[in-house]
């Protein structure tokens, strides 16, 4: 009824090619942005920022990054945790070496450094594919964690091997460190998340994205029609690692503040982000958000429901939480193997015809 193309006349290519061609969709998108930027900062408290929204935003960036590599370019990677660690340690080294430079640029630079490391570990993808590539990136995961544990230069020779984010400000407001306000860190992460999503969306709609998808669908055919596999695969690794690096940097500097590489950026993190994009939907920016929301928000929600509202013992709730999340993953993947993004697409198709489907 209200969600339809009919009555909307596009008179230019720009109009025709916009991300949200339906007016209702577009307004919904603006409304979400407006709420996120203009309403949430006024109501946010420490709990919502640190337990719910920051992890959601940061994991979304990581999921977008991995989705470019796995969902759009078809290169399976299990090295996400390791690449996030590169982002975190790069920020740490930059923060402590150049304290006068703005944290915003440190995070961007950390993304750039991660992109370079990602390209290096992406080189084998020119030779090996599928499961074999997954194993090669798994090696990256273990190597990087080992490296940051082993070489004291990376953690400035601290006794415990931990890295701690010192306080850094932006426009006079602390972004990292304990004195930071929840609204400030939230907005800082939100800017990165929205920026990443817009860049990723437009990259994947353009030439570069088409090249990646051609490689994903059939690399020999892509090569025959003139797609250069070397540049396509390596740009996918670079762009993907850039976003993952930013996510790792924010995860350390803004969200946790103190990080131990083996625990925070271990293999579990790689799997978590991979599950996010599988559940959310491979090859979809919305899917990255949906997957991150599913795996970050659901456990917190379940914990608050079972322990907070129902008053169950904490250990029982923790075990049940694992079982419920696991069960839901299975149900989702059986009901819709293409993830939450596909569910969303189907809903939109139905909504176009609603309320008169025949």
């Amino acid at each position: 009824m209200f969600y339809r193309e009919a009555g909307e006349f596009k008179t230019s290519y720009v109009d025709d090619n916009q991300t949200f061609p339906i007016r209702f969709d577009r307004w919904r998108y603006y409304a979400v942005l407006a709420v996120a930027f203009l309403v949430v900062p006024f109501f946010i408290n420490d709990y919502w920022a640190n337990a719910v929204l920051l992890p959601f935003l940061i994991y979304s960036i990581a999921a977008i990054g991995l989705n470019i590599l796995v969902g759009y370019c078809g290169q399976v990677s299990l090295g996400t945790g390791g690449f996030m660690a590169v982002g975190a340690y790069a920020t740490y080294k930059l923060m402590t070496a150049f304290p006068e430079v703005n944290l915003f640029f440190h995070v961007l630079l950390a993304g750039g450094i991660t992109a370079i490391v990602g390209v290096l570990f992406g080189l084998p993808s020119l030779r090996i594919k599928g499961f074999y590539l997954a194993v090669a990136t798994l090696a990256a995961q273990f190597f990087l964690v080992w490296l940051f544990n082993r070489v004291p230069w990376f953690y400035n020779y601290s006794a415990s091997g931990q890295i701690n984010a010192p306080e850094r400000t932006l426009f006079g407001h602390a972004i990292s460190g304990p004195a930071s306000e929840p609204w400030a860190v939230y907005l800082f992460c939100l800017v990165f998340t929205v920026g990443s999503a817009i860049i990723a969306r437009n990259l994947t709609r353009g030439t570069q994205g088409r090249k990646w998808m051609a490689i994903r669908d059939m690399d020999i055919a892509a090569e025959i029609i003139g797609v250069n596999p070397l540049t396509s695969k390596l740009t996918a690794f670079a762009v993907s690692s850039f976003f993952v690096g930013i996510a790792g940097a924010l995860f350390f500097a803004v969200y946790l503040g103190a990080v131990e590489v083996g625990e925070v950026y271990g293999i579990n993190k790689s799997f978590l982000v991979l599950f996010m994009i599988i559940i959310g939907g491979l090859g979809s920016i919305f899917g990255s958000f949906a997957g991150a929301a599913f795996l970050v928000l659901l456990p917190v929600f379940l914990k608050n429901l079972l322990v907070g509202t129902l008053g169950w013992p904490t250990d029982l709730a923790a075990h049940l939480e694992l079982m419920i999340v696991g069960l839901l993953i299975i149900v989702f993947l059986i009901a819709e193997p293409h993830g939450i993004a596909q569910l969303w697409r189907v809903t939109k198709e139905k909504l176009r015809l609603w309320p008169f489907p025949h």
Partner: protein
């Protein structure tokens, strides 16, 4: 900026003052699930049972009931942060993170929020310097004390001379496991032993290569900094290569029944440090039986009472309760705030009479806190596993750690932290 800090401080005071009529809120970050649950359950049970006992027997502390809440972390830092944020709005009087990783996480946050963090024998060692770490406590002993006590015990065994001896450190490759390295290196310079480092990655189920190396290099002593399943595997591997168990010394977190029992009789003679007594006949057990177990209020399954880690949880609760008591005395009010409890912690004075009065005669070393000293006197003892009796038994008195070595290390590390975070060491 100044006005902002003032406003924040005012808000913090208002928030702290608001629930004045409420109970004494003492939460606990536990891990009854996950890879470290076997160790997390007894500690959490002991901690909770002590407060239940105080509520049931004495009607709380100073006449005010203790309100208790657990939050499950699974030894995971992110969940620890979530728990902390959820709990802090209820103005907890003290937080026990029960994990070195989470402690590191909470030190800056709790300092900014004005909530005492008490890491009992774990966490950041240099937090002992109270002038820098105003809200963090690590009574009764820290990892560097532990390292020094272990070396002192080895010195005793070797007749005071370690030159040319080889000592291997098998450690959990994390902030927790890396803590003793610097101290052991410094002590090595003094006593002339050769230190080799063998890291074990989380969770520590695979240690074949480390123990193969030990078998090849034949160190005279092995010191272990392990937690969870890593302990069991290490002790089993040591038994497998027939390493003399009385030359194998674990930190206090590597010496519970869970760790030695899987290796059977082979583990007999294994040593572990401790900072509390491990007797099975303290009078307090009668009270726990009467007021907690018989009323069906025992924490968890109630099957952990008297185990090593249960006693450590009990000890942690005891120190917190004493700090709250002290705070009530100092400020003359039974409804204390987190800031008052910090004062109580700094004035902590636990003597042998205190232990005896609490039904735990000879349970631990004397503890005298101050603003400068947030970590106690640094005493530790050595216990040894008696497989036939199924019990760890103390084989030494409390040994004083080598403060000549540790104090400068603590000063250096805390000053580095202060410089990094723009803290002026102070006592007001």
């Amino acid at each position: 900026m100044k006005t902002k800090t003032l406003i924040t401080a005012a808000a913090a005071v208002m928030m702290a003052a608001a629930p004045a009529m409420a109970d004494l809120f003492v939460p606990s970050l536990t891990y009854r699930s996950g890879p470290y649950a076997a160790n997390g359950i007894p500690t959490a049970d002991g901690y909770k049972d002590y407060f239940t006992l105080l509520n049931e027997r004495d009607g709380g502390i100073g006449g005010v009931k203790v309100e208790f809440e657990e939050c499950e972390t699974g030894y995971n830092t992110e969940k620890g942060v979530e728990c902390y944020e959820a709990l802090k709005s209820k103005s907890p009087l003290a937080i026990h993170p029960w994990s070195t990783g989470i402690t590191y996480q909470l030190i800056p946050k709790a300092t900014a929020d004005g909530i005492p963090v008490h890491s009992v024998g774990y966490g950041r060692t240099s937090a002992k310097n109270g002038e820098v770490f105003r809200w963090v406590f690590n009574y009764p002993a820290n990892y560097w004390d532990g390292a020094s006590v272990a070396i002192s015990h080895i010195l005793d065994q070797e007749g005071g001379d370690l030159s040319g001896k080889k000592v291997a450190l098998v450690y959990h490759n994390s902030a927790f496991g890396k803590e003793p390295i610097r101290t052991l290196e410094e002590l090595g310079k003094i006593h002339g032993y050769e230190l080799s480092l063998l890291p074990v990655d989380h969770p520590g189920q695979e240690q074949k290569s480390q123990w193969l190396q030990i078998r090849r290099e034949r160190p005279d002593y092995v010191i272990m900094w392990g937690w969870g399943v890593m302990n069991q595997v290490a002790i089993q591997e040591a038994v497998n290569i027939r390493f003399p168990m009385d030359h194998f010394i674990g930190i206090w977190w590597s010496g519970s029944e869970n760790d030695v029992k899987p290796a059977g009789d082979g583990a007999n003679g294994y040593k572990a440090l401790t900072f509390n007594g491990l007797e099975k006949d303290y009078p307090i057990f009668d009270d726990i039986q009467k007021h907690v177990v018989d009323k069906g209020l025992a924490a968890g399954a109630g099957d952990q009472i008297g185990t090593v880690l249960y006693m450590r949880g009990l000890y942690s609760a005891l120190m917190t309760a004493e700090a709250i008591k002290k705070a009530q005395e100092i400020h003359g009010t039974p409804d204390v705030t987190p800031a008052m409890v910090r004062d109580g912690y700094e004035a902590l004075d636990i003597t042998q009479e205190t232990y005896a009065a609490l039904g735990l005669p000879g349970f631990g070393p004397d503890i005298q806190g101050s603003c400068q000293n947030h970590g106690g006197q640094g005493l530790g003892a050595v216990s040894q596993w008696d497989a036939a009796a199924g019990q760890f038994k103390l084989i030494t008195d409390y040994i004083q750690s080598n403060q000549d070595v540790i104090a400068p290390l603590i000063a250096a590390d805390s000053e580095a932290f202060a410089a990094e975070n723009n803290i002026t060491p102070n006592c007001d």
